[in-house]
Amino acid sequence: MKKLIVLLLALVMVFSMVACGEKPVETEEPTEASTETEEVTDAETEAPEVAEEGKVLNIYCWNEEFQTRFKTFYEDAGKVPEGVTINWVITPNENNAYQNKLDEALLAQADAADDDKIDLFLIEADYALKYVNTDYTLDVINEVGLTEEDVADMYQYTKDICTADGKLKGVSWQACPAGVIYRRSIAKEVIGSDDPADVQAALADWDKFDAVAADAKEKGYFMVSGYDDDYRVFSNNISEPWVTDDKITIDPSVKRWVEQTKLYTDNGYNNKASLWSAEQWAGAKDDGTVMTYFGPGWFFDFCLMPNCLADSEGEAEVGNGSYGDWGIVKGPQGFFWGGTWVCAAAGTDNVSLVKDIMYTLTCDVDTLTSITETYNDFTNNVPAMEAFAADENFGSDFLGGQNFVSVLLDSAQSISMENIGPYDQGMTEEFQKAFKDYFDGVVDEETAYENFYTAIMEKYPNLSK
């Protein structure tokens, strides 16, 4: 009996050692060369190693937003060539895990096997410059094969953000003008009306916003759910970049955010929730008491909407939780938040497939129109958005039938990318972290600034105060 047990244990150990050698993704047998013969000529103007298209397309991203759009508009439309497997490498953003993985893959690109080479990756506005300013991204027009015409209808700022030395390095399917998303039923009680025009008048500038916050508190509601909800409004409207010549500057606009949030926390106008936490969304549910959230299309479609439902398995429709009880206005200041850009990795072996994906999902007006209708994204096509804004019948059920495109349209045109820099992501994260302690009353303002500088110089050792 004992010998049997010992034998079993030994076998288990041996098998567990052998099992981890299995490859999870198996590449399919190469059949014919892919069907895109007419685009091979385009590809040949690029680096010499791209003679024949690879069989595995490696896409790096951090969540499933792009994947769902890709599946609906590319895969299900039958556009993936024969014999090509799409390999999704999804690493969440937590603790910088996504960028770490992406960086390692990009730095190893030259020595990687063709099937392991990263082909397409997604980046966010906050750290776009980190990749765009390097040679690891391909020039979308000269090296990948899109034309000036293809990208002509895009919002200028989405092109500016990914342009380095005059070369466009990334394209996006969304523009992300953002506004104030308010809870209609609470607005009726506090402001007296849930009509967007009235709400906008009541929230037209920050002083009015503060006044409404006081009213909301009296009636038992929170104006915002936590500390970081409206951070982006202030950080977008800075008048000079965070870092000049490796020296950090903290803009007055950001300092205004600190003052406002401290005031709100002390007076109880916010629920002290952290961004993306369960507490933040608790305020949006049926019995939630938070009046406003700040964000763009992806925020209320991908983040707020699923979390406001009472029954998460059920249909997303009026009656399920607070679905339909929301509206959107521009708010005190226009701003944008994030956005996802698609970049081609240098050294990719699937250039024409990458070009086709980029074209279909970011330039093709039909796809973009469908994306807006299905996912409530504010897509990256000026004429299409203007058409939606003018369309009286277009509205979002989640927003009680409101046409959000018309609300956000002029914000989209006025977004400026002048003051962005490659350190923005680190700045945003560390600033919010350092000041959370100040708002919680654990440290005073001086110490919070000191902590911020310490943390940011650990992250970017080349910077100084």
Partner: protein, 327 residues
């Protein structure tokens, strides 16, 4: 003069070399995976080397500049204090409860039944992965988590208590997790130690009329000293290197205000920018501190046996000088 009997000419088979073969694998693995990285860490700490975005800065030789920077400008002493506090408030309950449980389980008078089950249950928290345990506590003690809901609904407190925004509460949680994970292990060790004490000593003490307290302090404790010191030194080394529990609970920040940031968490912060220079310095300093503590504890552990050796050596020298006793 007596000639020394020559024992050398006797032929004997030496199996000594097989001993070397058997210990060789350990030394080879130690050499490759521990010694070489250790030396290269020392080496790297003299260079300025980090990565900003995708561009690599360095390695540039800067001598002791990194050391100066860490020792003067950084808050490493504060984090060392944090580490010590987190360790000690977990360790003291751990050792007290483990001692109490060990005494209870090994007591003949109480004669607890079902000891096997108890021992299994108290050992089980040790098997949980520290990171899963921390995630669990994070969810339990969050602002609107189960614990807060329970406290508010039973009326113990009016508003949810924000555990993770309070210095003492966060430290308390980390210490509790460490305590829960390790007290089972300590209990088992102490039980083994107590059961190894000769029963005759206890009987002799009882015959002499010692009370239980006296028995504990005069008989049990001194004879448990080696095990206690072993527990102390392993717990201390683990405490100096405490990382997984506070890292996961506070999401790498040691909040609030870095009051729960340990030295290794600080080292990890530098690794975020692949700063092998500064991270190397922190590693070296931790190594030195651990080394000093270990030597100190080792010397006090072996103090009695070293003193015995000294006495024997003295006797031997006296005998050699004084005349031959046929050694």
């Amino acid at each position: 003069m007596k000639t020394q009997t020559s024992y050398k000419r006797r032929r004997s088979v030496s199996y000594a070399k097989w001993g070397y073969f058997f210990i060789a694998p350990f030394f080879i693995i130690y050499f490759t995976f521990q010694l070489i990285p250790l030396l290269s860490t020392f080496y790297n700490s003299f260079f300025e080397s980090y990565r900003v975005g995708l561009t690599q800065v360095g390695p540039n030789f800067v001598g002791f500049q990194n050391y100066v920077q860490i020792l003067t400008e950084s808050e490493l002493p504060r984090f060392a204090a944090n580490t010590f506090i987190l360790w000690i408030i977990g360790f003291i309950p751990q050792i007290l409860v483990a001692m109490a449980l060990a005494l209870i389980f090994t007591s003949y008078r109480l004669n607890i039944k079902g000891q096997g089950i108890f021992k299994t249950v108290i050992y089980m928290p040790n098997l949980i992965m520290a990171s899963a345990f921390s995630m669990l506590f994070f969810a339990l003690f969050s602002d609107q988590g189960p614990v807060n809901i329970l406290l508010v609904s039973t009326g113990i407190i009016d508003e949810p208590f924000r555990f993770l925004s309070n210095t003492n509460a966060t430290r308390g949680l980390i210490a509790s997790m460490n305590y829960l994970m390790w007290f089972g292990n300590t209990t088992i060790l102490l039980m083994a130690g107590i059961m190894g004490i000769d029963q005759n000593l206890f009987e002799a003490a009882e015959v002499d009329g010692a009370s239980s307290v006296n028995v504990f302090f005069r008989v049990t404790l001194p004879l448990l000293a080696p095990i206690l010191i072993y527990v102390l030194i392993t717990s201390m080394i683990g405490g100096i290197q405490m990382f997984d529990v506070p890292q996961i609970l506070t999401n790498g920040n040691g909040n609030p205000d870095r009051t729960s940031m340990t030295m290794i968490m600080y080292l990890n912060k530098h690794l975020a920018s692949k700063n092998y220079g500064l991270a190397g310095v922190v590693s070296v300093l931790i190594f030195i501190v651990t080394g000093i503590f270990s030597v100190f504890v080792y010397r006090s552990l072996t103090k009695s046996s070293r003193e015995e050796k000294k006495i024997i050596n003295k006797k031997y020298k006296v005998k050699r000088k004084g005349g031959s006793y046929g050694y």
